[in-house]
Amino acid sequence: MQFQFANQGLAWSDAYFLAQGLLNTVRLAAAATLVGTLAGIVLGWLRTVSMTVRIATAPFIDILRSVPMIIQLILANSLLSILGFGTSPFWFGTVALGAWMSAVTAEVVRASLLSVPVQYRKSARSLGMNGYQELLYISMPLAFRTGLAPWIGLVLSLIKDSALAGVVGYIEYMRSTQILITRTHETWLLLMGAGLFYFLICYPVSRYSRHLERKVRV
């Protein structure tokens, strides 16, 4: 009985299941991007202006970039459960992906702020602007132009990495695909669907990012 069920072909209800997965991928990626970017901007700025913060946070950034996302997800999952911070896979995924995003965004923010020619900043200060005015009106807008394309690249990485959130029980698109493959054995159709889904999101965005990069360079 169960085996018959397991080999059942694709049904219309599965389309709904996949749509749920798709929505979950978007939700997770959006939440982690938002959290990670905001934290990353603050962290990156602090790392630029304060030597103490730079030294104190260096291990955090280094480790998040040298440990696989799967491991980070599993660690976030088990640590947050141990600490009693709920059991929601969405939350685990957001914490793990958001932490990674904040670390890499901080580095982009820092590099972009440092790439602002010191002369512009001196010009601004020479006109009587204070440090915060200079940051707000000169450094940030200029850093934004250099940092935008690399930041988009990070968002793309994050979207792709969100496909791993299945390991902590979050049913995003890749995980729902895998579940359906196990049940229906419609391997190619489902895999092609998954490939297309990610490609259709990532390809246009990465094209745009490369276009931006070229524009900034000239």
Partner: protein
């Protein structure tokens, strides 16, 4: 009046200024000349507090620039500075470049700041370029824009750091013309330059910097045409041999 007394400045262990004494009177144009690396840019940036100093004192209208109690941002609006390059903020139009500081520093309304900006753009001959981005302006126009931007804060002093050195020879003239205009209006100016001809024609006094000190100071006639110190003579001989300078002076 700018009064610089015994100013010492080091970057780490590298001593750049060893005790500079210099006074700039109201309405005067003082040219600073000297080999590259002699500390001319550093001195200008010390004058408006962009660089800290390790000893001595700089007084601008009697106010000490490096005294921690001084409101440096307020003092700076008295001192306009224009650099060799990277002056115009690339993300703002010419008008916005000029209007920004009046708006955020002097807290003028947007409309007043824009009107003021337009007035100063016209002053330097860029009245019709208000909507252009710096990338759409020539190097000479960008430098004039930087001058207009500084003037919009209504400074009492203008500091120029080799403002024509990065320009194509044919663009040098328009910038020097603008500087001459300022002088004719009575602006007090400190001008770092390699353009010996400009110094000879326009400077009230010329100061030659070498080895972190003011080696020789006097009228252009004294310092450029009849230098007494050996270092000054050597420096001027080298400058006169540079082919680029000859081209520039003939255009200017």
């Amino acid at each position: 009046m700018i009064r610089i007394s015994n100013v010492q400045k080091a970057f780490g262990s590298v001593i750049v200024l060893k005790g500079i004494d210099l006074t700039v009177e109201k309405g005067e144009l003082v040219c600073l000349i000297g080999a590259s690396g002699s500390g001319k840019s550093t001195l200008l940036q010390c004058i408006n507090g962009l660089e800290p100093i390790q000893g001595g004192e700089i007084l601008v209208d009697g106010i000490s620039v490096h005294d921690p109690k001084t409101d440096i941002n307020k003092l700076r609006s008295k001192l306009g500075i224009v650099f060799q390059q990277y002056n115009a903020f690339p993300h703002l139009t010419a008008l916005e470049n000029v209007a920004l500081a009046p708006r955020v520093v002097s807290k003028r309304s947007r409309a007043v700041a824009r009107a003021l900006a337009q007035k100063h753009l016209e002053h330097v001959g860029l009245g019709d370029k208000g909507d252009s981005l710096p990338s759409q302006l020539s190097g000479g126009q960008q430098q004039r824009l930087a001058i207009a931007r500084a003037l919009a804060m209504e400074p009492s002093y203008m500091l120029f750091d080799e403002v024509t050195s990065a320009l194509d020879p044919e663009l040098v003239g328009e910038v020097l013309e603008t500087m001459r205009l300022l002088k004719s209006e009575g602006m007090t100016m400190v001008v770092v330059t390699h353009d010996i001809n400009f110094a000879r024609e326009s400077a009230d006094r010329v100061a030659f910097l070498c080895q972190g000190e003011v080696c020789e100071i006097g009228t252009a006639e004294e310092v450029i045409d009849n230098p007494r110190k050996e270092q000054t003579q050597k420096f001027l001989r080298r400058e006169n041999r540079k082919p680029l300078e000859i081209v520039r002076s003939s255009v200017a």
